[in-house]
Symmetry: D2
Subunit: 346 residues, 4 copies
């Protein structure tokens, strides 16, 4: 039985992780960390887990936690994991970091986009980017996994085969993404109040959202050249779900079958990636509560562009689910252990 600790367990991603681990047959949570709620019953913060979790919240003493846990999940604001990690901790336990601290290999890019000084750049090189379907073998051997962002997981998986196979002009990529509101976190802010979000849609972080360099870096690895693209996130009045609508110019006259074959090549054997039938496009309602990513594309002959779309649950495949998937890989378990939930609809 894997003993897991969660730092930041009272955010939405942390709570999703707690819920997933409750149903995981090979893991149990030994530490519900939450700086804001130390000493309070976890189930008084998340009443959905009333009578399922008896523990009270603990602080974020990572040294102590490392001595008790086989794996630590850090579902915390940027900078915290980097400031706490040490050789001693990494010698005792594995870490899956749900923040952005170890996702970007070039520390200057991290520091520029996040406006932070990185506190432990020495671990960036060894950290494995935890996009399971792409980096599976490296993850199995990792002791520090950088769990990808929600938008980035969706965006990269949607575009990966196209970029990897050289089917599109990477300088033409535009990603227009839409997210449910849980992505904004549980902080008490006026713009996230019900009446402010409900009955509205808006773009935010236009040409400046922090997930941009993460997507660019990973797609750059796929094609072997630098990628610079547009990424525009939008806030949608729903709790969960991300839909990425990506546009790119095809290199020449590529057929539906060629593109389909590219997607099948990379995803044909993947359990959590569902390539939809032709002319059926992803909708977030069909993945809600699950670790699935639904993907499809449409070629527009008129413009020579491909429109590729992906949908996932931002709290599951976009955060906690993928973190568990990474844990499974790191501990040699079947990758889908504890993750076979049927999407909840309606």
């Amino acid at each position: 039985m894997i003993k897991a600790g969660i730092i930041g367990s009272t955010g939405y991603a942390g709570a999703e992780l707690a819920g997933l681990l409750l149903g995981h047959p090979e893991a149990r949570v030994v530490w519900y960390g939450s700086r804001s709620y130390v000493g309070e019953a976890y189930s008084s913060i998340y009443r959905n887990m009333f009578r399922m979790v008896d523990a009270a919240c603990l602080d974020d003493n990572m040294e102590e936690l490392a001595s008790q846990a086989d794996v630590i999940f850090t579902a915390t604001p940027q900078g915290l994991c980097a400031s706490l990690v040490s050789d001693r901790i990494l010698g005792q336990t594995k870490i899956v970091d749900l923040s952005a601290d170890f996702r970007i290999k070039d520390v200057k890019i991290y520091e520029k986009w996040y406006g932070l000084q990185h506190k432990s750049p020495q671990y960036i090189a060894e950290a494995v980017y935890g996009l399971c379907e792409v980096n599976r073998e490296d993850i199995k051997k990792a002791r520090l996994v950088a769990n990808p962002g929600c938008y980035t997981t969706c965006s990269i998986l949607t575009l990966y085969p196209l970029v990897k196979e050289g089917l599109v002009d990477v300088s033409s990529i535009i990603i227009d993404a839409k997210s449910g509101t849980s992505g904004a976190g549980r902080g008490a802010k006026v713009p996230n109040l019900f009446c402010e979000v409900n009955e509205s849609i808006k773009a935010y972080g236009v040409a400046s959202h922090r997930h941009t360099p993460e997507i660019e870096e990973q797609l750059g690895y796929a094609c072997g050249e630098q990628v610079v693209l547009n990424f525009t996130p939008h806030l949608v009045p729903m709790n969960r779900g991300i839909l990425a609508t990506a546009y790119a110019s095809l290199k020449g006259d590529v057929s539906y079958d060629q593109v389909r074959a590219a997607y099948e090549k990379y995803y044909g054997g993947e359990y959590f990636i569902r390539l939809l039938p032709e002319e059926v496009y992803p909708e977030t309602r069909w993945v809600e509560g699950s670790n699935f990513v639904d993907i499809n594309f449409k070629i527009d002959k008129r413009t020579g562009r491909i429109i590729a779309m992906g949908a996932l649950d931002n709290l599951v495949k976009g955060a906690a689910g993928q973190a568990v998937q990474n844990m499974n890989l790191m501990f040699g378990l079947p990758e889908d252990t504890g993750l076979k939930r049927v999407p909840v609809f309606p």
Copy 2:
């Protein structure tokens, strides 16, 4: 492995049942019945189950189905189950009927409130009312279970200890209930369009809703006298969830501790019923996607009334989850098999 058939598998309750049985370790679905979609891939109707269910929809030939299945769930409009059931079928298989056909013992009351002639009143007597926490022992021996309605499950469980223990004047009971829109079904009707339901709340079936006599009958059994009460359902702009707010006059000066003890007496050992801490009241968000019923109460000394509240997921404990709970009981399985899902929040 229990072989299960679902008639009416493409309604919302039927689909929830399909999803629950997919995750059930001791059962599998052998028949996805759906008169409207015969021959179509089930997962083309419910794309959340894409790649999880390969079957196509079948008709509602119950004779044939009975020869293949150990248990049949009928998630169909009123009257259908009563018109199809027969000695032969009941000799071959068990039935959990999610419609109202066998819930009400007095066929005249059924026919009056539902405006239908009952096609097989001879089975009413043997049918067991499948409210697991109340009729557990009878359910274990039943071959025909009448699965309770969503509003009725919530209303009865909220009031049962009060009525059973004689703490309230049953002639004073008023139940004001609120339901998510999945309770209205998947039929294409203008009043259930997004724009009609969203940003609105309304009462409906005022003093005439069909769940009224069902609640009255069951509470009548609890107290041993006839119960006549007010029940008013309301439509809420959300997908799932029922909240029942029930009012009743206390018989004399009853204390918080006395009432709490009554609830503990009946529910203290129940897994699926969660009595909340004092001053914490049920909210549907905390039970969504689970088989839990959250219950609590408040005594108002000023008026001498008690306000008892219960919340559940109308598609789970209010329909498919309770149906599976009944199946578990009928087949001698642990009652919570396949039903320990953590509520989904947010």
Copy 3:
């Protein structure tokens, strides 16, 4: 042209007032008060009024404001208006107070339910309770009007004819009310975040909500005896709207026509109260954005009770619209001036 000042103009009710006064042909706002946003452009807080309002927010200097305005609206937390009002101010200007400070005639009841010491009880007696349809003549002569609460406006108007005409046993009254989330205000609190409110319904303030004594007092005036009742508010995932579902025992065998006649007697000539056709019940979607209250009732012969229902927009008839209606009366204008907006649907 009436010069109006708003203290608390950046709350939801204050902003609705600002919007209504923008469209009012006989009034204009000369003071957008907002302690939190002094100096900021009003339209940077409420961008719906971008280019419609040029003013910046001012403080809550009521002395200064009184010298500039013909009427002051205080859309502020409880206690503020009472702490600022003075003979000098009331000698210069009229006040419509949207807080609860002057609604309750018995200062002890106010202080008990609100947990505040009243700072200017000497003005309670002269303050007129601004329920226009009931106290119209007194309002015309008032210099200080206590604008009713949102739940109370809906509850009182729904029950008034029944209580006034002695058709119901007032000791049997139970009001189960449901409100959109704008009623909770614009404060940054976790329970009001989108993800916490969406997809959920809950009761709150059970047997303790502050609108209870206000309803009791006003219904007490109507029937001439003390009224003690149950009032339970619920939070609904929608922006606007209140639905009150009220239950009471009829005194004897009262017919539909008798009750209808009672409602017609009091509301037959009222523009803003719409008695719906028989068997058509109020829905908040039909009044959204307007100053209407839609009302109807159903007699349940089985229980001897009447179920009376009312719906209004909590920000309009429940707050800002009624405030303008009061202003119109106080200044001798036609009561519906600036208030004839068609309800917005969908």
Copy 4:
């Protein structure tokens, strides 16, 4: 007083038109046409207008209507207006057609994208495309106005100055649009049920939506060359509102000030177009219920692209409001008559 007839008055756009005309000081509706509800009280279909409209629904006898009305609005499915219009009718009355019948000058393109044979192509040439801010002078003289589509109004106005001034490479234009559900109409279809739309987002009509050629044609007029672009609409779980996020490559190193100047040049004097302050982007909540279009842009130096965004209410500026604006122009009234509603928020 302008006498107006509405054919298709019981769809969402028709009802918005009815509501706007109720508040219009110079017009009144003399004919509420609705094939589906002939003889039924209009206010029994749209209860928001209860007691505001007494009329019953009439059929779509356009000949008869033309003899009674000064202007006819056709808010009907594609093809109907084209099949009814005649010289005789156009000799008696003006027409504002809210369908697509007269929007596209090349009848072959219309017939291809709409899959219909055009029944009166002889009127296409004289029909004026009713985008008021662009074609104002022609509209004033028109007897037949083709009221633009909701997505097209938003998309064209968002991009017009960029295209007109030659600031962008028109072959690079991609429009990713998001719409509330009222755009899907009031037909009873499963995909538009509350539970299907709520908590989900999806693209639809990918590379095939009918508004595409309309946008292309109008932008083509602006720049004097053929425009072929990508347009992808998405369905958002909200009642009203469209947000268009448009991407295009800038021609060379264009500055913020140059682009701003271009927008000011065309929209600086427009009442209904609000150019937002730098770094403030359109959100549909700020225009709901009004005839405003909020527009802004961001230059991304990294990619050399501009992201231009526009938001409007699809039922107002995207349909009924613009129709009234057209009527005002056609009858020599101030363009904003009856259209100065403050956006409803929250």
